[in-house]
């Protein structure tokens, strides 16, 4: 069970080379296969996640949630997806058509690219990148452009307002996001996510870096445009923000991308702070799924507890609280490492 997928990949790779493909092309084909699998997993995940979020939010509000279609309403998302696929695709006549149409595609591509480096088990990742953590952060920062494109292309003031807000928010929160991860990098001494997982063999980094975990959690919530930080959508104020003008499948792409980001960030949190795929008894790829879903549930919990924060409070919280705290955490971690070496503990 443990090495199920690794062995499958090895078998496929061996079969491809036996067909006469040179190793590098066999690797390329394998990469494509991996991507297809990743995209399938993401799609399946999201079907479950949307249902889960609706169910969890219902329970928080003492409601029942979807319960009509199938047992516990589990087919509700599929029905919704079919509905969205068959809806009319409206492009406003005043919109900048090229940008309007490109934005959702760009957004989802960026979101899917996040999965390149996440270790989904022992030896299971699309590419074992040397600078995986940094890659994750930098790709995550690209989604601002997609939102800005959506807001600009819609040619609607609500859209533009939502886009501008979200971009300002995401650019600001990227700084504490990266800084809070730096503490982990200092301890593990590597940007490679598999190395970071390996460094947590004895002790999870959430215990060594609690401040970093909290700052990362807050910054990630803002980065995902979720929970109390869902300024860009802000249904009550901006009628849907950057997504106002989108209909049918284009809107669904944004929705998909948001949940894709959510899973990716939760998986990264599980990897960096919660010991990744390590765990007893169960196979590693099951552990990462369990941990990721645990983090996602916490995200749901936070989202359905707190009201939306005002924009200026949001920005000043980032610059005046989160950035200094994460910088202080780096200082503390450095001092701790020196102290540890001086005492000869590590």
């Amino acid at each position: 069970m443990e090495a199920l997928f690794v062995n499958l990949a090895a078998v496929l790779s061996g079969w491809l080379t036996s067909l006469g493909l040179s190793p590098i092309w066999a690797d390329t084909v394998l990469l494509f296969v991996k991507w297809i699998i990743v995209i399938t997993i993401i799609t399946l995940n999201i079907i479950i996640l949307i249902w889960l979020e609706r169910k969890v939010s219902a329970f928080f509000q003492e409601r029942l949630g979807p319960n009509r279609l199938g047992p516990f309403g589990i087919f509700q998302t599929i029905a919704d997806a079919i509905k969205l696929l068959t809806k009319e695709d409206i492009v406003p006549s005043a919109a900048d058509k090229l940008i309007f149409k490109t934005a959702p595609m760009f957004f989802i591509v960026v979101a899917v690219m996040l999965y390149t480096v996440i270790p989904m088990g022992q030896g299971m990742e699309v590419i074992n990148l040397n600078i995986g953590l940094l890659f994750f952060i930098s790709i995550g920062s690209l989604s601002t452009i997609a939102l800005l494109m959506a807001g600009w292309g819609s040619n609607n003031k609500w859209s533009l307002m939502g886009a501008v807000r979200s971009v300002a928010q995401m650019v600001s929160y990227e700084i504490p996001l990266a800084f809070s991860l730096l503490g982990v990098v200092m301890i593990s001494g590597s940007l490679n996510l598999q190395d970071i997982v390996a460094a947590q063999g004895k002790l999870w980094f959430i215990i060594l870096q609690p401040i970093a975990f909290i700052t990362y959690f807050i910054a990630a919530t803002a980065e995902l445009n979720r929970g109390p930080f869902d300024m860009p959508e802000a249904e009550q104020e901006l009628t849907g923000g950057a997504y106002t003008e989108y209909t049918g499948m284009r809107w669904a792409l944004f929705f998909l991308a948001e949940y894709t980001n959510l899973v990716a960030v939760s998986a990264l949190m599980a990897t960096v702070f919660l010991g990744g795929w390590q765990g007893p008894w169960l196979p590693s790829w099951l552990w990462i799924i369990i941990k990721t879903y645990g983090v996602i549930l916490v995200f749901f919990w936070v989202k359905w507890t707190f009201p939306r924060i005002r924009m200026d409070h949001l920005m000043s919280f980032s610059w005046k609280v989160l950035v200094p705290v994460s910088l202080g955490n780096i200082l503390l971690t450095g001092a701790g490492i020196y102290f540890c070496r001086w005492m000869g503990w590590c």
Binding site: S22, P23, I24, W25, T28, D96, L98, I99, L129, N130, I131, L134, F135, I137, S138, I139, S141, L142, T144, I145, L148, M149, W152, L160, V164, V167, V171, E174, L191
Partner: protein, 176 residues
């Protein structure tokens, strides 16, 4: 290198990345809508990042995406939105004086010719692409915080000064 119908994978990646970069760069200077120019610039940055990745400079590529495509381009688009005072289709015009365009084009053409000639005529060491060291991040870190630490600190101060200066310039100073 593994040849595949006369073109190695490496060459194919370079050609694609270079093509995207040059096309996007042309887009930056030729689009009449400055928003298109800015988005084109993002594409050019991404192409350059691809070239970095291909050159085994992964750290630099990631920094390129993070700083250029993620932050600087957003800054540029914000600035564009703040200073936009005419229809979007007429925001990025060429100079009205043909003399200027002609001079600029001539200078560019001459410079490009000179550069190409220089590159073509020079005797570059016959380097077969060597497998570079894997841990460029470690090497960079050692250089940055070792031999070049003064420059590193100077760059940090430069950034701080630039941030403060930009804020003062953009916000204006309150007159007492």
């Amino acid at each position: 290198m593994i040849e595949f119908s006369g073109l190695s994978l490496y060459d194919a990646v370079f050609t694609a990345a270079a093509g995207v970069t040059v096309t996007a760069a042309l887009g930056v200077v030729l689009f009449r809508n400055i928003i298109y120019s800015a988005l084109s610039l993002v594409l050019a940055f991404l192409g350059v990042a691809a070239i970095y990745f291909q050159l085994n400079a992964g750290f630099l590529g990631v920094i390129q995406i993070l700083v250029y495509a993620g932050a600087i381009s957003v800054l540029i688009i914000f600035a564009i939105m703040l200073v936009m005072n005419r229809p979007a289709g007429r925001t990025n015009l060429t100079s009205p004086r043909t003399r200027e365009v002609f001079t600029g084009g001539t200078i560019t053409a001459m410079m490009l010719t000179a550069l190409i000639a220089a590159i073509g005529l020079s005797d570059w060491p016959k380097t077969v692409l060597l497998k570079g060291a894997d841990d460029t991040v470690g090497m960079l870190a050692e250089l940055m915080l070792g031999d070049y630490v003064v420059a590193f600190e100077a760059a940090a101060i430069l950034l701080l000064v630039a941030v403060v200066g930009a804020i003062i310039l953009a916000k204006g100073v309150e007159n007492k």
